[in-house]
């Protein structure tokens, strides 16, 4: 059994490296938050109160981002290996054992990633703390600490989120008849589950509760609850994604006529049909857009000019979650690049030129990013509208940060789709199409 777990981890290194990276990134971001809380506990007094407040907001941002990103990445990790799990069953592994092995693999990777992430955070916490609180002399004077007491809960959190996030996928791997898994490249769609309904409705209720408290809140304290609305709405959209994501992609991409570009046509079909891949990439990007736009929209609504938010504050509040979200999106593209390469090799065999193949890969990145902008942007727009209702002032402050994050994400995703494709183009088609 142990041999199976580890040999499979090695054989699918590309997929598991993506999962490991995200587990490590989540742990690094979590460890920075844990360090702030530990520092607050050690400091006591007013400094502690200030740090608790800030850490609480960062922790909520991190939690929402981690749940969406890690859930998406973990589910993709299992989905991409469905064929391998089917082969396990064909050689005699019981479905229950398949589920156990998959869960054990996720647990091993999450523990390893969690530990590595916390170790990476150790040299980072001090310079980050100094940078983030450079405008606050009282807090800048504190010495940040990160001890095992702070790191262990972070590792456990990562392990639980990754393992639970993949539990459903592991169950699907065990339940799906092996022949069906062997025939389907990946499950054709994502269906709504009870957990998705419950998660989505519960998050929507939290948003409603926050909104209901706003009318009685002063402008000086309204920014924090208001800035939570956008990422929470992103969470709602991620939960209900299976209901509309493929249709949304098909709808807006149809603005480019199918006869206009073969590359666009291929990318459009691939993105809309491969719901698992697309959801895993679009959801983290959507959170990134919602986080950045939501922070500025909330502050704009209560009259804080965008320019007055120090870079240190923005990095402190959004740096970790944004990094995690963007890394999550890039990791999902990297993890599924083998599938993309096979599809594009078929297009090469059918007479598609290198330029067409590269353009199709780039078009896929564009479709992911624009879809994320539409969804994340709608969360920012709703935050703006709620802010206008509660604070009485309309603001467009969320637009520029949302677009900036989108542009950055586009550059990274273009690199993540086009570079592996360019490398794959150097290989002979038969090598790329060879059985896995």
């Amino acid at each position: 059994m142990l041999r199976l777990i580890f040999s499979d981890l090695v054989a699918n290194a590309r997929i598991w490296l993506g999962a490991l990276l995200i587990a490590a990134a989540t742990a690094t971001v979590g460890a920075v938050v844990a360090s702030d809380i530990q520092t607050a506990v050690a400091a006591g007094g007013n400094e502690a109160l200030a740090l608790y407040g800030i850490s609480g907001t960062v922790a909520v941002f991190t939690l929402i981002t981690a749940l969406i990103v890690v859930g998406a990445v973990t589910d993709l990790t299992v989905t991409l290996q469905q064929r391998g799990y089917a082969l396990w069953q064909l050689v005699g592994l019981r479905p229950g054992l398949v589920r156990l092995v998959v869960t054990a693999q996720l647990f091993v990777v999450s523990l390893l990633g969690g530990a590595v992430g916390c170790l990476l955070a150790v040299p980072l916490v001090q310079p980050l703390f100094r940078y983030a609180f450079s405008t606050s002399p009282e807090l800048a004077g504190l010495t940040p600490t990160l001890t095992p007491a702070g790191a262990v809960p972070v590792v456990l959190f990562v392990a639980v989120v990754v393992t639970v996030g993949g539990f459903r996928g592991a169950g699907r791997a065990a339940r799906t008849p092996p022949i069906q898994s062997l025939r389907e490249v990946e499950p054709p769609d994502r269906r709504m589950t009870v957990a998705r309904w419950l998660g989505g409705v519960a998050t929507l209720l939290v948003v409603a509760a926050i909104v209901s408290t706003l009318p009685g809140t002063g402008l000086d304290t309204m920014a924090v609850p208001l800035m939570l609305i956008s990422p929470l709405l992103a969470g709602v959209l991620a939960a209900f994604g299976p209901l509309f994501l493929a249709r949304l992609v098909r709808a807006w991409t149809s603005l480019v006529p199918v006869t206009a570009s073969a590359a666009w046509y291929l990318a459009r079909n691939s993105t809309a049909t491969n719901a698992a891949r697309s959801t895993a990439t679009i959801s983290p990007l959507m959170v990134a857009v919602a986080l950045a736009g939501g922070l500025y929209a909330a502050n704009g609504a209560v009259g804080v000019p965008s320019g007055s938010l120090s870079t240190g504050s923005v990095v402190l509040l959004l740096g970790g979650p944004l990094l995690l979200a963007v890394l999550g999106a890039v990791a999902t593209v990297f993890m599924s690049s083998r599938r993309r390469e096979r599809e594009l090799a078929l297009i090469t065999a059918a007479g598609g030129s290198s330029a067409l193949v590269l353009t199709a890969a780039a078009a896929e990145a564009v479709i992911y990013v624009v879809t994320a902008l539409l969804l994340g942007g709608s969360a920012v727009a709703v935050t703006t509208a709620i802010g206008a209702w509660a604070a009485g002032a309309w603001t467009a402050a969320g637009a520029l940060p949302a677009l900036t994050v989108t542009a950055l994400a586009l550059v990274l995703l273009l690199a993540a789709t086009v570079l592996p494709t360019a490398t794959a183009l150097r290989q002979e088609v038969p090598r790329v199409l060879a059985p896995e």
Binding site: V185, E186, A262, L266, T273, S353, P430
Partner: protein, 242 residues
């Protein structure tokens, strides 16, 4: 033109370490005339799939020359090779022939779309009807059986009407009945009297016996050549090569 494909003294080696290479094809020469159904057989590791990929310009030869319709594939740039594949060559692989995100109808129309050629819905439907899948046009590959997927791949070839079709173990993953259907369709391409040739690699010796000409490969060289063979002749030739 007296040959659709011409191969001259073709060699292919693969590196196995920094200083070592293993030779898979060793000086093969052959010609495929228009309208011929050619089968390539041989023991595992004899180099038959590598020969097919080099003949179809999916893989570069180490030395030697391959000409498709008179064009030296080694001298063509990537763009010209893509155009050659688009316009004159069709492929049927053992599996994973179709783009999973496209329906059967869209897969059949794909080469025309890549070439920015107009292909009517009626042409696509006719190609699907020719392979007995008129009612499966809206299905995605995952919803089709292995044999049906192979037939869609052949429908794609029929719709493009290439000068030469390369098929790598097209019946390898199919049951006897589905395999026979696929072979009938491939033979039909070559025998339609339109000068189109089919080059097929197979380990199924009865399937090979359906071809006009059979090449038996051993250790990267042509060991025997049979014309209009019976299945027994192919069995005997391969047994002699093993």
């Amino acid at each position: 033109m007296d040959a659709v494909v011409e191969v001259e003294n073709l060699t292919k080696s693969f590196p196995i370490s920094k200083n070592e290479a293993t030779s898979v094809l060793r000086g093969i020469s052959l010609r495929v005339p228009p309208g011929q159904f050619l089968a390539i057989v041989g023991p595992s590791g004899s180099g038959k799939s590598t020969l097919l990929y080099c003949m179809s310009a999916l893989e570069a030869a180490t030395t030697g020359r391959v000409r498709i319709l008179g064009q030296d594939t080694g001298a063509l740039g990537r763009g010209a090779l893509a155009k050659l594949r688009r316009d004159q060559v069709g492929f049927v692989f053992q599996s994973y022939n179709l783009i999973p995100s496209l329906t059967a109808r869209e897969n059949v129309a794909l080469p025309a779309r890549l070439a920015r050629r107009r292909i009517s819905g009626a042409d696509v439907d006719r190609a699907l009807a020719d392979v007995g899948l008129a009612d499966r046009g809206s299905y995605r590959p995952a919803a089709l059986s292995g044999g049906q997927q192979q037939r869609v791949a052949i429908a794609r070839v029929l719709a493009v009407r290439p000068d030469v079709v390369f098929a790598d173990e097209p019946t390898g993953a199919l049951d006897t009945e589905a395999g026979a259907q696929v072979l009938d369709l491939l033979a039909g391409v070559a025998r339609a009297g339109e000068g189109r040739s089919v080059v097929m690699v197979t380990h199924d010796l009865e399937a090979a016996a359906r071809a006009d000409r059979v090449l038996v490969l051993r250790d990267g060289v042509i060991h025997r050549e049979l014309l209009d063979p019976r299945a027994d002749d192919v069995f005997a030739a391969v047994a002699g090569a093993s």
